[in-house]
Structure formats: C-alpha cells, structure tokens
C-alpha cells in the first residue's frame, strides 16, 4: 500500500527561505541582474506590446475546465513556477513578468478566440499554452496573422514548423526511434503489437514506428486503434495473447489508459515478466496517478523527462515544484517541457535585447538552456528542441526508474524523410 497520509507542511517562513534557496542557482545564469533603465521601453518594444518600464505581460492559455483539464493543469503549474523564479531573479530585461491566464475550456474554437484576445487586446509579449494538437492547430492561424509567439509544451506528431511557435516537447521521431532501438538491442524484441487511440498523434506515431521496425528487419504482428474514451479492452487483450508479440507498443491516451492497464493486469499479463514487454509513449507520471502504480509496474516508457531523473537541475526543479504546489504532486514529461517555455523566451528576449516578436524569433535558434531539469536543451533552426531520449521502467510507487538515455542529443526532425 502506498503511504497516503499527508505530510506536515513546512511553516510559511521556512517555505519562503527554501523557495529562495532553490531559485539561487538560477541567479547569475546570464550574467547577473539586468537593469531596466539600460533597456528603455521605446527601444525594446517597437511594436506596441504590453511592456512598460517595470513590467511585461505574457499569456497562459490552457484548459483548466473540461476534459483536458486533467492533463493541462500540470503545464499551468510549471509555467507559473518558471515565471515566479524568473521574477525572483530580476525578471526579463529588468522587468517583472505579469501573466494573464485564459481558459481554453477543452474547446478548440475557444482556444482560437482566447488566443486572439491575448494577442489583440492584451498585446502579450508571448503565450505559453495549448496541449492537444487540435488546440494548437486552432490557434496557429491566429498566431501567424497577428504575429504572436507560442511556446507549445506537448510531445506531438510533428509535421509542422511555424515561425510563430517554439515546440518545447518532442516531435514524434525523437520519442519513438530511440525507444524501439533500445528494446530491439537490449531486450531482443523481434515482434511488435501496435496499439493506439484513434486520432492523429497515435496514428502518425505508429506509422513512424512501423517504418522503423521494418527498417530494423523486425516484425509488426498487429496494429489497432480504439476510439478515444474506449473502456473495454478484453477483446484486444485476447488477440495480443494469441499473437504473442515480444512488445506491446501502446499509445493509448486519457481515461482509456486506466481501463487498458487495469484490464491488462486483470487478464493475467504480468508486465514485470516482460513476456510480452510493454513500451508506451503516452503514460507519464501524471497518468499513473489515475492508473495506479501497482497496475502498471514493469512497463517501459519512452520520454525525454522523468521526475526521478538523477541530476542536480532536476533535484532543484522537483523541490521548487513541490514547495509551490504541494508535496504529493507528480511531474510528468509535458510538465517539464512547459517549464522550459518561459525560460527559453526570457533567454531569447535577452539575447535579442528586445521584446519584439521578430527579433525574438531571430534570436531563438541556438539558444541553450543548461539548467533545464531534463539536462541540456538547445533550440534548433526548425523551432524544436535538441534533447535526449530516455527509457523509464515503471515502479509500483508510480515513479519511473531511468534505465537508458541516448548518449547524444537527438536532432528534432518534424518532417522525417522516409517515414511518411
């Protein structure tokens, strides 16, 4: 049984001290405090953005109501933490960041409407937001028309490269290829059963996975899609049992996830025996909260970030996150990617010496963030991030143990040749 008794929260003063300490390492990252007077507003803001002598306004655009709230809550929390830490160390070009939060309400037209409001009415200098590809596609024309800058955190299917978006999550090849290579080499996997929810991300991802499996000379013994929200997986589990694949490659999302893993366990497939082995790219620590660690123990996940990642950046990040949002909270891959958004924007602004969107865009490629919780990331010319791919092994306490990471950063390749 997990220990569910809430721990005593530290008293307020201690909390503040700790938060201060945890922000300390970030100080001096870019040569100490910047004085706003050195950057007159008239010079750093030539396009009428919401920038004053001591303040700059950004937007946060996520769903906090509706069905996607379950996923997007973590991203909002991460972005607020990053903004707070940046403010604690002096802000951006000497200006404190103020944010306007809008609710996309899990409804794509609402996302577009709110994006327009943020850009046209509030004149925000950048927007951290969106989660599903559908919401990103809905706001994209708005950002391109009114020349805004969106920091998009979710791992997604690729096939997109907009001058008005910085993609801080992985595109599909970054998440898929290294994981399949790893099970092929280290687990001797020969046959795969591909499984997914029925929409663009799992389908595109499985297309890439299938191509890569073919390339390695291995075999795909089944490929299936289930409607979003599907809750009965007994038939497909029977099929899997008969086909006896070495690997179940699962990209199931949302509430279906919980049903799938509970029924898999109930059907007597013990993932710790790795016969078959389960590899997923859609279950982060956030999802395990709902699934229950005991129902997914033994599975492997291919991500770029796990909460348990052993490095100093991450230790500080996890401490600060828990200080702000509570001891019980878990941090998944997308939450970390959302945390990068405000930092990457801040660095681009400071490199450009301006808040102007065009200058920020020009300054973005090549920006390095050495204090990223996932380690080190760099913005590619195609607006995606260079980052490592990692494989985690699910433990029964709901955390992953990192068992593999790529040696080098993996180049983002949103339009993979030979994979389409």
């Amino acid at each position: 049984m997990s220990d569910d008794t809430p721990r005593k929260s530290p008293i307020a003063t201690r909390r503040q001290v700790l938060a201060g300490i945890s922000a300390l390492p970030f100080m001096g990252m870019l040569g100490g405090k910047v004085n706003a007077a050195d950057y007159p507003t008239a010079e750093v803001n030539t396009t009428g953005l919401a920038v004053t002598d001591d303040k700059v306004t950004v937007g946060i655009l996520h769903s906090v109501t509706g069905t996607m709230a379950i996923s997007e809550t973590g991203s909002v929390q991460a972005e607020k933490l990053a903004i707070k830490q940046i403010n604690d160390m002096g802000g951006v070009l000497g200006r404190q960041i103020d944010f306007i939060q809008e609710d996309g309400a899990s409804d794509w037209p609402t996302f577009a409407e709110k994006a327009k409001k943020l850009l046209v009415q509030d004149k925000v200098a950048s927007v951290m937001g969106c989660w599903t590809s559908a919401s990103r596609k809905a706001v994209l024309p708005v950002f391109e028309q009114y020349n805004g800058m969106l920091y998009y955190p979710t791992f997604y299917e690729g096939l997109e490269e907009s001058p008005n978006v910085i993609y801080t999550g992985q595109e599909a090849t970054q998440q898929i290829i290294a994981g399949i290579d790893w099970v092929a080499q280290n687990k001797g996997a020969k046959s795969f059963y591909l499984l997914g929810s029925d929409y663009i991300w799992p389908r595109t991802s499985n297309k890439i996975a299938r191509k890569h499996i073919d390339k390695l000379g291995l075999e795909v013994v089944g490929e299936e899609y289930y409607p979003l929200g599907h809750t009965q997986f007994n038939s497909v589990i029977n099929k899997i049992k008969l086909r006896k694949p070495d690997v179940i490659y699962a990209i199931i999302v949302g509430g279906s996830n919980v049903a799938f893993y509970k029924q898999l366990k109930a059907a007597g497939i013990d993932m710790t025996k790795e016969k078959p082995l389960l590899l997923t790219i859609s279950v982060t620590e956030d999802e395990i909260l709902g699934i229950g660690g005991e129902n997914i123990v033994g599975a492997y996940a291919c991500m770029k970030y796990f909460q348990s990642l052993p490095n100093d950046n991450n230790a500080e990040f996890v401490t600060a996150f828990k200080e702000m949002w509570g001891e019980e909270i878990v941090i998944g891959d997308v939450t970390q990617a959302a945390y990068l958004g405000p930092w990457l924007w801040k660095m681009a602004v400071e490199k450009a010496g301006s808040f102007d969107i065009d200058k920020v865009r020009e300054a973005s490629p090549g920006i390095e963030f050495t204090k990223a919780p996932e380690g080190y990331v760099r913005i590619h010319e195609n607006h995606h991030l260079w980052s490592k791919t990692r494989v985690g092994h699910a433990l029964d306490d709901g955390q992953y143990e990192v068992v593999f990471e790529t040696e080098d950063l993996v180049e983002p390749d949103p339009f993979p040749e030979g994979y389409q």
């Binding site: 049984m1 997990s2 569910d4 008794t5 906090v64 109501t65 509706g66 069905t67 709230a69 379950i70 809550t73 029925d198 490929e223 299936e224 899609y225 289930y226 409607p227 929200g229 599907h230 809750t231 009965q232 007994n234 038939s235 497909v236 029977n238 099929k239 049992k241 008969l242 509430g255 279906s256 996830n257 919980v258 049903a259 509970k262 029924q263 366990k265 109930a266 059907a267 007597g268 956030d286 999802e287 395990i288 909260l289 709902g290 699934i291 229950g292 660690g293 005991e294 129902n295």
Partner: protein, 308 residues
C-alpha cells in the same frame, strides 16, 4: 482465421472471447439499468447519469482512503461497504435533484434533457473543484485484481467475474422490487396511467422521487464497481453515457427486459467484431447495425403496450 492457429488455440479463442463478451454484457447491463429505470419508468432523459456513476466512484475512492488510514485490517472487504455507501449517496443526491429540479419539468420532457445536461456540467465542475482535475487511482484489495488460469491460454479475470455476479444480483433485486413488491406495483401503475394511479390513492410524487433515487443509486453502484476496470475523474462519466443510451434506446425505452436483451446483443456483436477487425471499425459497424434496426423498429427491441 483457423489456419493460423491450432485446434486448442482456436477453442481457447472461442472460450475467452465468449467470456469477454459476457463481461461486456454485464458492464452494459450495470450501467444501463439505472438509466432504464429512470427513462423507462418516468420518461425523464437523465443526461447526468454518467456523473451519478462517477459520484459512486468517488465515494469508493474516499472509502479506500478512509479504510487505509483508520482500519487497514478491513481493507480486503471495504469494497462492499463502499458499494453500499455509493448507492446511498448517489440515491440521496438523485432524490434531492428530483425534488429541486426534475419534478417541475415532468410535463416538458425536452426541458429535462437540457436541465440534466446542465446538471452534468455542474457536477463535473464540482468534482473538479473538490477532488481536483486529475484522475484519482482507487486502490483495490489484491484478491480483486488478477486472474484465474484455467488452461495455459485461457485466463479469466477476477474483476470480470465480480462484475458479472454483481450485475446478476442487482438485476435480480430490481426485478423483485419492480415486479414482486407493492412498491413496484405502484410504480408500474403510475407509468401506465398517472392520473388514474393518483385517483386510486397512490402518492405519485413520492413514487417519482423514490424511482429517480433508485435509478441514481444503481448508477452509483455501477460507478463504484467500474473503479475496477475504468478511470475515476471528473469527466469519466462521459465515457459511459453514449453506450448507456445506446443500450437503453435499442432495448425499448420502457422495458427492463428489453434493456437486458439489447445489452446482450450489442455486447456480443461488439466483442466478436472487435476480435476480427480493429476497434474503431467494430464500433462503427455496431452503431450502423443499431441504427438500421431502429429504422425498422423505432420503439426498440421490446415495447410495452400502454395507454398514455
């Protein structure tokens, strides 16, 4: 298909698929029963049915926490208490809703549809505010998870058996209540002729309230049981609502037997088709078949002859 498999494997497929179909059948009956009571007996389309189910799931989740924290010794059997509580809590909320909202709208069936849909949104946001937007994991006793291996290939999930037995018991209970008790007789009298039932001294308002409460209570038990096989989150109720309506409408709105027959037909069709084609296609074909049959028989599989 047989070509790829040996005879043993093929017979195992049949056995396991048959069992998967039966589990799906039980799940369908369990989730549709509450709706069928309300829809069939009162003519109220309860769009908030899924949210009453999730209320039961949250009650179960609270129970699991309470038991773990205070009486861990009772953990292996807490689920039964949780189900009873789920019934009471969902039923009580149902009666409250009937009193505050539904009873004013009996003469306007389309408005109840809108009102209960609004209620479902209110409840979803309420769950989100109280329990958080994230899904919660309900921890279950070990004996309920896992499977019984009959042969090398055939394995029967224990939670599936649990749902089947539970469904049987609850259906039996509802039948006794509806067709063998004095209260059931009153409910049926009100359904058949409300004015006349009132004239012979039946308190129709009370019958309505208790019927609505019973339907919601059964939904709560279903939600509680589904923590074994599904997710518990503010919007998880939406996952069930389409299938639930499908089963009830296909079966013939006013007939409980029809609900069970339709659950059986749909579940067997779906689980068989899911085996031979992909999940999405199976769903499409199931829905097409149901639409086709409803075009020929608009009242559903079973209809009651009654006078309004």
């Amino acid at each position: 298909m047989i070509g790829d498999y040996t005879l043993v494997e093929f017979s195992s497929i049949l056995a396991m698929q048959g069992f998967a179909g039966l589990i799906l059948f039980s799940v369908f009956v369990l989730m549709a029963l509450g709706l069928a009571i309300i829809f069939g007996q009162m003519g109220v389309i309860n769009m908030a049915h899924g949210e009453f189910m999730i209320l039961g799931a949250y009650v179960t989740w609270l129970c699991s926490h309470f038991v773990t924290a205070y009486v861990p010794a009772l953990f292996p059997v807490y689920f039964f208490v949780a189900m009873a509580l789920a019934f009471l809590v969902s039923g009580a909320l149902g009666m409250l809703v009937e009193w505050a909202m539904i009873r004013h709208l009996y003469k306007r069936p389309l408005d109840t549809l809108l009102a209960t849909w609004g209620l479902s949104l209110i409840l979803q946001q309420l769950y989100r505010s109280v329990f958080g937007a994230r899904e919660v994991g309900v921890s279950l006793p070990d004996w309920m998870m896992g499977s019984i291996a009959l042969t090398d290939i055939i394995e029967v999930p224990i939670n599936g058996i649990f749902v089947m037995v539970l469904t049987m018991l609850i259906s039996l209970g509802v039948f006794i209540l509806m067709f063998r008790s004095a209260w059931g007789r009153r409910v049926r009298a009100v359904v058949q002729n409300r004015a006349m039932a009132g004239a012979v001294g039946i308190n129709t308002k009370k019958v309505d309230r208790v019927t609505f409460g019973l339907g919601c209570g059964v939904a709560g038990v279903a939600g509680s049981a589904f923590t074994m096989i599904g997710s518990t989150g503010p919007t998880a109720g939406q996952l069930y609502i389409v299938d639930t309506f499908l089963v009830v409408v296909f079966g013939g709105a006013a007939s409980l037997i029809g609900t069970i027959a339709s659950a059986f037909t749909i579940s067997q069709a779906q689980s068989t088709m899911e085996f031979f084609m992909s999940g999405s296609m199976a769903k499409v074909l199931t829905l097409l078949t149901v639409v086709g049959i409803l075009m020929l028989r608009p009242e559903g599989l079973f209809t009651l002859k009654m006078r309004r």
